[in-house]
Every structure is written in structure tokens, then in C-alpha cells.
């Protein structure tokens, strides 16, 4: 897993310095990504159903559990690419 920005990554601008502490962080606007789990989980009618099931799990359960890794991934992305 690469945890540091790569110079080729268009989202990250390196300011000619390889010292990781002095690279330009991602715009603060990227933090708004963290609104996604709130939208996804607070609108209950969206996921309150049995179908489609996954491995026997009703949608209600696997959908909400799925947001665990998604939220973690969002936070990891923001942590390693933004500060």
C-alpha cells in the first residue's frame, strides 16, 4: 500500500521538495467526502428492505455493514493525502 502521494498523482502537487512535511495538502474541500456516510445511513427508506440479499444477509444488514469499510477508506484517503 502506497500511503504517500506519488508525484504522478494529478491530485497531489509536490512543491519540488521530497520532504513529506512540506508537500501541499489536498484542498480542504475533499473533507466534504465525509458527508457521504451520513447521507447513506440517515435516509432509512433507502435501505430498509430484505431484498437483495447477499450471502443470506438481508439488504438492511449488509448495506449498513458495507459502510464500515467505505467510511474507513474515506478517512484513510483523507489522512494520507490531505495532511
Amino acid at each position: 500500500m502506497a500511503c504517500r502521494p506519488r508525484p504522478g498523482d494529478p491530485k497531489v502537487r509536490m512543491n519540488g521538495n521530497t520532504d513529506s512535511n512540506s508537500r501541499k495538502p489536498l484542498s480542504r474541500w475533499w473533507r466534504w467526502l465525509l458527508v457521504l456516510p451520513f447521507i447513506a445511513l440517515l435516509w432509512v427508506p433507502f435501505y430498509n428492505s430484505v431484498e437483495p440479499t447477499l450471502g443470506g444477509f438481508p439488504f438492511f444488514y449488509w448495506y449498513q455493514l458495507l459502510w464500515l469499510p467505505i467510511t474507513s477508506a474515506l478517512i484513510i484517503f483523507l489522512y494520507y493525502w490531505s495532511e
Binding site: M1, A2, C3, R4, N21, R31, L34, P37, F38, L41, L42, W43, V44, P45, N48, S49, V50, T53, G55, G56, F57, P58, F60, Y61, Q64, L65, W67, L68, P69, T71, S72, L74, I75, I76, L78, Y79, Y80, E83
Partner: protein, 529 residues
């Protein structure tokens, strides 16, 4: 009596006791100072903080009560999952600011921060008292978790003081190692506790569905009104709004509990908190799986099994998980699982009593009772208060009806939410007037308490009429809206009045403060590549 389980339980408990006392020597510091005893010198790195906060937030009571709620009420009990998902974006964004300002000014509690930020002793006192009052019943419920597993091993079902003896022994152990080792003890024990809990939960979610014939069979055995939330009928939003507001309101409240603040402030850097915002989710996954064990108990009809009848009569739905463990596993593993839950009660109970002791000492004793006391007297006082707090919880759980502790904990969640405007907004802006925040806090407390009282203290969801629509929702969130409204309106009124705004010892840069970047600044390429 289940002797095999009892022996395994006692051995693991003995191990934890030894670790608890040894912890005093770990990363040695001067335990006669509150910063060392109550925050372990703020030296915990990512891994220890992960275990500590995991052990702290996902408590024994959670492990008993969440599956019990799913067992009794169905899908609504699963709100614990969205709740513990939504916490972490908040942790990631907000708590590094709290860590920084606390580190910069040596704040040990949220109330310390309030005093520094607003220069208002009354508001700081209100925050401290709210924290202590909300924590006490929470500690009592940890002891309940312990009581249920002790009962599951066949001890104490006869009632009487002899039945409470194991609980008292466990309590004495807890009190002794907290006194000598401070926060280091629960941090070290949390590593054992979490390992045991993970093993237990994994075993349950693998072994029991096999017995039931797979997850498909498990879910098809659940009645439709419990499997998912029943659709709202008439002009009420029913369980839909209750589910969403419970999840959101609980997420806002959790990190204001004193024990969470203590856990967060004991970490060694902002980065530790930010990383843990991503990694603590692993506990939420475990909690989600554990919630489903409530359905397993339901599918098996565990409460109908005659061998568990006496305990179900005593502990009600809270016995669902212990009964499931007894039914599905050999005795020795039941001992391991019960030890996991029992030790799972000790860790948060220790941290909660330390947090309450920090609050009382720093924000009530020091400013109002003994302003001249030395740092050593301060730490000594905190150690004694931690004993008093735990003793109070023990008396509570032994002598008062269980229902009181549960209802008070319900109210505690509503009350602790009322410090959100002062603490969380205070991390971002100084515009709100301390007296307005005080009025908002009071208005929120009253509104929330009245709402919960209107349900006969049975539920924290209040059916709010909005025009023709009825929106049942978490009273903490509703009263928080009142709190905010009062705080904002009164701030606009009071701010022009000279002398009401108080002082502010913090500077904008303090909220991003990061000491000695070389010490904790991550070099994650080598660490995680």
C-alpha cells in the same frame, strides 16, 4: 454451578489482576501527578490507543445490551452500527483540535478546556457536573454486564449478599489496580480483553450459524416485523426517524463522555487520533456481528429452553447472549467468553471512574474546595474519588432496582449531549457567549428530561408533533436543537453587553498545535508499506 467455566474465568481474571498491578511500572512516570495517573503521561501511540478506545467505547454493557435489544425488539437494535460508523468522521475532523488545545494548555478534562476558552467558572462547573452525572450510571451498567455473566455460570441466582460476593470481589480488584496504576491499567488490560472479545465474537458468528444451517436460514427464522424496520403508518414517521436520530444523536454524544475524552487526550499525537478514526471501525464491525447474535438467540428460541428459565426471569433479554454462549459452546470456552465480557466491564469501568475522578478533582475540588492544593494532593484526591465513584456504582447495582440504572443511563445520554454547543462549537468559534451557552445547556437539560419523563422514563425516543406529522426521535437530538437555539439567540443579545463574554486564554494556532513533530510524525511508508 458450571465449575469448568468458573475455573477458566477465575484464571483469566487472575491474569488480568496481575497485569493491572504490573501496569504501574509500564512506561514509568510519576504516578503522584494527575497527568501521569489520569492520562498516563499522554504517551499512548496508535496501537495502544486503538485498544484503549476500543475497550473504552465498546463496553461490556454494549456487548450484552445491543444483542439483547435486537433479540427483544429486532432491527431497531442495529442502530448501533450506523451510530458507530458516523462517529468516526466526527472524530477525524473534530477531536484532533481538542487534543491540540488540551496538549498546549495541559487540559485534562473537557471542563478544563471550557474554563480556558470561556473564562467562565459556572459554565466549566456545569460541564463537569454533567460529565460526572452521566458517567455514574454508565459505570453501574458495566457492573451489570459482570453480574449477568457471573449469573450465567450459576452463581448468584439464589440472590442475597452471597450472590453478590463475586461482584464485590471483582470490584475490589478493579478498584485496587485503578488506584495504584491509573490509566495504564485499563490500557494494558484492554489488549487482553479485546483479544478475548474478538475470539469470542468470531467463534459465535461462525459456529452458531452452522448449527442453524447458515445465515439464510437464520434470517428466514426471524419474524418480518423484527427482520427490518416496520414501514411507518398513518401520519407518523415511526421507527424510521427513531432509527436515524438515535444513530446520529448517539454519535454526537459519545465523544463527549468523560471516558472518551480521557482516552483521546491520553494519545501521544493528533496523528494517533486521526489514524484511529479509520482503524477503530474494526470494533464497529464486531459490534454489528455481535448484534446479529440477538437474532441467533431468537431463531433458536433460547428463552424457551427450560435450563435457562431462572436466569431469563432474573436478567430478561440481557441473558440472551450468555445463554447462547452456554448453549453453543463447551464449558471451557464459555468460561473464556464470560471472562471476555467480565474483563470487558473492568476496562471501561476503570476509565470511567478515572475520568469522573479527573473531573471532580480538576473542576470541582481544586477551584471550589481546595484552591491551594499541591499537584500531589490533586492526584491523591483523584485516586480517592475514583474509589468513591466505583463504590457508588456498586451500591447502586446491588441495592437499587436495575431499571433505575438503565433509565439513568438513558437520561445520561440526553444530558451529556447538552455540552455539545459549548465544547464542540467552542473548538471552532468563540462567538457564542458563555452565559448564553449556560442558558442553552439548562434549556436542553430540561427539555430532554421532560421528553424522557413523558415516556415514563421507558424510552429516549420522543414522539415530536410537527404540524400534522409525528416524528419520533431521540430526545437528546431534539433537546440539543432547543439548546442551540437558545445559545445562539442569547449570544446575539448578550454579546454587546460588556463583561459577559469572559476571557479566552487560547489562540487560534493552539487548535493545530503539534509538539516536536519528529517524535510522532509518521513515516508510514516504512510502517505500512
Amino acid at each position: 454451578m458450571n465449575w469448568v467455566a468458573i475455573i477458566v474465568f477465575v484464571i483469566l481474571f487472575g491474569l488480568v489482576t496481575i497485569v493491572g498491578f504490573m501496569a504501574a511500572h509500564w512506561r514509568r512516570g510519576d504516578l503522584d501527578l494527575l497527568n501521569e495517573w489520569g492520562l498516563a503521561g499522554r504517551r499512548f501511540g496508535t496501537v495502544i490507543t486503538w485498544f484503549l478506545l476500543g475497550g473504552d467505547l465498546y463496553t461490556a454493557y454494549t456487548f450484552v445490551a445491543v444483542p439483547a435489544l435486537v433479540f427483544g425488539a429486532g432491527a431497531i437494535g442495529f442502530f448501533a452500527v450506523p451510530y458507530t460508523i458516523m462517529i468516526y468522521p466526527l472524530v477525524f475532523l473534530i477531536l484532533p483540535r481538542m487534543w491540540s488545545v488540551a496538549h498546549r494548555h495541559n487540559y485534562i478534562t473537557a471542563s478544563d478546556f471550557i474554563l480556558g476558552r470561556y473564562g467562565n467558572r459556572s459554565l466549566a462547573l456545569a460541564v463537569a457536573v454533567t460529565g460526572i452525572v452521566a458517567t455514574m450510571p454508565y459505570i453501574a451498567l458495566q457492573l451489570l454486564g459482570l453480574q449477568v455473566v457471573i449469573g450465567a455460570m450459576g452463581i448468584g441466582t439464589s440472590g442475597g449478599l452471597a450472590g453478590d460476593l463475586p461482584l464485590i470481589i471483582a470490584f475490589v480488584i478493579l478498584a485496587a489496580f485503578t488506584y495504584t496504576s491509573g490509566l495504564r491499567a485499563p490500557a494494558m488490560i484492554a489488549i487482553i480483553k479485546d483479544t478475548l472479545i474478538y475470539i469470542t465474537v468470531l467463534a459465535m458468528v461462525i459456529v452458531i450459524p452452522i448449527e442453524l444451517g447458515g445465515y439464510g436460514k437464520l434470517f428466514s427464522a426471524i419474524p418480518a416485523n423484527k427482520l427490518i424496520l416496520p414501514s411507518p403508518t398513518g401520519n407518523s414517521l415511526g421507527l424510521y426517524s427513531a432509527y436515524a436520530t438515535l444513530a446520529l444523536g448517539s454519535a454526537f454524544a459519545l465523544f463527549l463522555y468523560p471516558h472518551s475524552v480521557t482516552g483521546v487526550l491520553s494519545s501521544s499525537s493528533r496523528h494517533v487520533i486521526r489514524r484511529n478514526a479509520a482503524y477503530l471501525n474494526a470494533y464497529s464491525l464486531m459490534l454489528g456481528l455481535l448484534a446479529l447474535t440477538g437474532f441467533m438467540a431468537l431463531a433458536m428460541g433460547i428463552d424457551k429452553m427450560p435450563e435457562f428459565a431462572p436466569q431469563f426471569a432474573q436478567y430478561k433479554a440481557n441473558f440472551a447472549v450468555p445463554a447462547l454462549i452456554l448453549h453453543a459452546f463447551p464449558d471451557w470456552f464459555a468460561g473464556v467468553a464470560f471472562a471476555a465480557i467480565g474483563i470487558g466491564a473492568l476496562v471501561p469501568a476503570a476509565i470511567m471512574s478515572i475520568a469522573a475522578a479527573n473531573l471532580f478533582t480538576r473542576n470541582i475540588y481544586l477551584p471550589f474546595i481546595r484552591p491551594d492544593c499541591t499537584p500531589r494532593q490533586e492526584a491523591q484526591n483523584a485516586k480517592i474519588v475514583s474509589l468513591v465513584v466505583k463504590l457508588g456504582a456498586l451500591v447502586f447495582i446491588i441495592f437499587l432496582p436495575l431499571q433505575y440504572a438503565i433509565q439513568l443511563q438513558l437520561l445520561g445520554g440526553v444530558w451529556i449531549s447538552q455540552i455539545i454547543p459549548a465544547v464542540i462549537l467552542g473548538l471552532y468559534t468563540r462567538w457564542l457567549n458563555p452565559w448564553a451557552l449556560m442558558a442553552g445547556w439548562l434549556a436542553g437539560l430540561i427539555t430532554g428530561t421532560v421528553m424522557v419523563a413523558s415516556t415514563g422514563f421507558q424510552s429516549a425516543t420522543y414522539a415530536l408533533p410537527l404540524g400534522a406529522l409525528i416524528v419520533p426521535g431521540y430526545a437528546a437530538l431534539y433537546s440539543l436543537v432547543v439548546n442551540f437555539a437558545v445559545a445562539i439567540v442569547l449570544s446575539a443579545v448578550l454579546n454587546p453587553v460588556a463583561g459577559t463574554r469572559g476571557s479566552d486564554e487560547t489562540a487560534p494556532g493552539d487548535y493545530h498545535f503539534e509538539p516536536a513533530p519528529a517524535a510522532e510524525a509518521p513515516t508510514p511508508v516504512s510502517a505500512t508499506a
